[in-house]
């Protein structure tokens, strides 16, 4: 309570709202040429739980062009209703237009919570929406709960320093906005027998700045298992020393049906792309097996592997902190151990055949 007293309403931003006017949980459903984005569906499972605790409804909100075809999707995945805005003005994606449309809908329907996926687009739309509505926003949450006394959303995220989770509330402002990290929550089961209300919203042309899309260049990427879903992860750090060194990591990953990852230093050195970074500023993972090679074990990295079932560390420095965070440690130069390990695995596989 003392905490809430510290806040004073800023009238410059608009008159104080009445929290009781706001009901309902919304999930912003991101779509593109490929259909509905999985990260949005993941939020429907958490959204369902929050709506049930609040004894209110859960809605998916779809904004775009030619998107009416997806209207049933949020409902199949647990929503009570879908609010869909299908309009040629959204033919070209522009964050300001989406944010302003979402803010318009929020002013009209007054939901108490809006969750967005922390995808690149979601992270672009959310802060502008929050700024337009003059409400608080929390980024990259990994957990949510409800304070039953106040109906406040408890937004849980790792703050600086790792090993801690901050619980954040928006006690006086509505709606409460948050983005959530992809692949933290599971996609709920799809049930095509579920039915719900579909609200087709018409929005007059939203006034945005005249931004023109000139060109789109697809990046051809191999379909890789997302780190967050991998059972086996082989990760390298500064100790790998060279980009060539990472080839050994890749080879080992291939033999174990694993995925390659690395530390911030490995990313900074350009040995692996940023999407493969594990740690506080990268991703948190939950594999069965995590093999850390040439990784010293800075807390910001180890933070990301808390939920690994078993951690193996290979490092030539016996004092490296990683050994304190590993189940099995090998004190050796990785160049001496990893090729032999690969050889051994290959031999075992052949013997089995």
């Amino acid at each position: 309570m003392a905490l809430q007293k510290r806040q004073v309403w800023c009238n410059e931003w608009g008159p104080e709202i009445n929290k009781e006017d706001y009901r309902g949980v919304w999930v912003y459903i991101e779509t593109d040429e490929g259909g509905v984005h999985e990260a949005s569906l993941q939020l429907l499972s958490k959204g369902r739980e929050l709506a049930d605790k609040l004894e209110t409804y859960l809605a998916g909100v779809i904004i775009g062009y030619n998107v009416e075809q997806y209207s049933n999707e949020p409902i199949y995945y647990g929503a009570d209703k879908t609010i869909v805005v299908d309009d040629p003005q959204f033919k070209v994606y522009y964050a300001e237009a989406h944010a302003k449309a979402l803010a318009y809908l929020a002013r009209k329907y007054k939901p108490e919570i809006i969750l967005l996926p922390a995808t690149m687009r979601g992270r672009e739309v959310a802060p502008y929406t929050g700024g337009t509505l003059k409400t608080g926003i929390t980024a990259d949450c990994t957990g949510f709960d409800i304070d039953p006394k106040t109906r406040d959303l408890i937004q849980i995220r790792p703050p600086y320093g790792a090993w801690m989770l901050a619980h954040i509330k928006t006690p006086r402002h509505r709606p409460q906005l948050a983005t959530a990290r992809p692949n933290v929550f599971d996609v709920p089961p799809r049930d095509e027998t579920r039915t719900g209300e579909i609200i087709k919203e018409k929005i007059e042309e939203i006034k945005t700045h005249k931004v023109k899309l000139l060109e789109t260049i697809k990046i051809e990427k191999e379909e890789e298992i997302p780190l967050e879903k991998a059972d086996v992860i082989i990760a390298g750090g500064k100790g790998i020393g060279t980009k060539e060194g990472f080839k050994l990591i890749e080879e080992l990953a291939q033999e174990l049906n694993g995925v390659v990852a690395g530390t911030r230093k490995a990313v900074d050195a350009g040995w692996i792309p940023y999407e493969r970074q594990i740690g506080q500023t990268g991703k948190s993972v939950k594999p069965k097996l995590y093999i850390a090679i040439g990784i010293s074990g800075a807390s910001q990295h180890v933070f990301g592997i808390r939920e690994a079932k078993r951690v193996v560390a290979i490092n030539n420095d016996p004092d490296a902190p990683i050994f304190q965070h590993a189940d099995y440690g090998i004190v050796a130069d990785y160049k001496d151990i990893v090729p032999i390990l690969i050889e051994l695995i290959r031999k075992r596989k052949q013997e089995k055949q």
Partner: protein, 269 residues
Amino acid sequence: MPLKIVVPIKWIPNTSSVNIDPETGTLIRTNVPSVINPPDLNALELALQLKDKYGGTVTAITMAPPNAILALEHAIGMGADKGILITDRVFAGADTLATSYTLAKAVEKIGDFDLVITGQETLDSSTAHIAGQMASWLNLPFMYYVTEAEYNEENKTLIVKRLLEDKYEKYELPLPAVISAAMKTNKPRHVRLIHKIRAKVEKPIITWTNQDLQLKPECIGLKGSPTIVTKIEFMGIVPRKREIIDGKTPEEIAEKLLEKLIEEKLVEL
């Protein structure tokens, strides 16, 4: 028309040098040096490249305690023309909405600007909120994750290339605008002595307090922040076996490890 660019930056503890005490599970934070938030260096570099190409000025601003003047000095050392330190106890404890509001008001006070370039996110809190929120306060067009920018002087627009998960996009934005520079996509220039010497003479860093901005206390700092941290939950370190696998030869060690992994069904061969 030369480009007048404002770059908001942040002075943060160097996260990669923080370690955890395995026995107590507490953070070892002694002598953690502070640095400019690394993605802000990419923003400064993008701004300076534009200035090199089209002329104009780059002004670095930061809302922070007085010691963050070091961040502004670094920016000036890279080639920024001016620095504004926005510092006042009443700004302390601000969340992203209150921070972006204060920064937006500072940019309005600067007045004559064409472009605001922020870093993609800060490494100490990773919200990526400030650019979007500033754009909404200033009612300007905005674009995240920009890797390259070109100025079209004739139309007074900016052509930006930006990087998403699976594609590059090229957009044309009317100026003034707010953009965020994609992380790690350019090589920030080093601090040069000549700029430092110039700074000694020109004294390009000024300080603004709330006397200068005249913002209502209930709209800034902790008081003006809609979000509050209500609890910090310490997660504790995960208990691990901490078993060292030893052996006379690498072969023996590798064999022992593989046995364990197979036994525990962690790998399938």
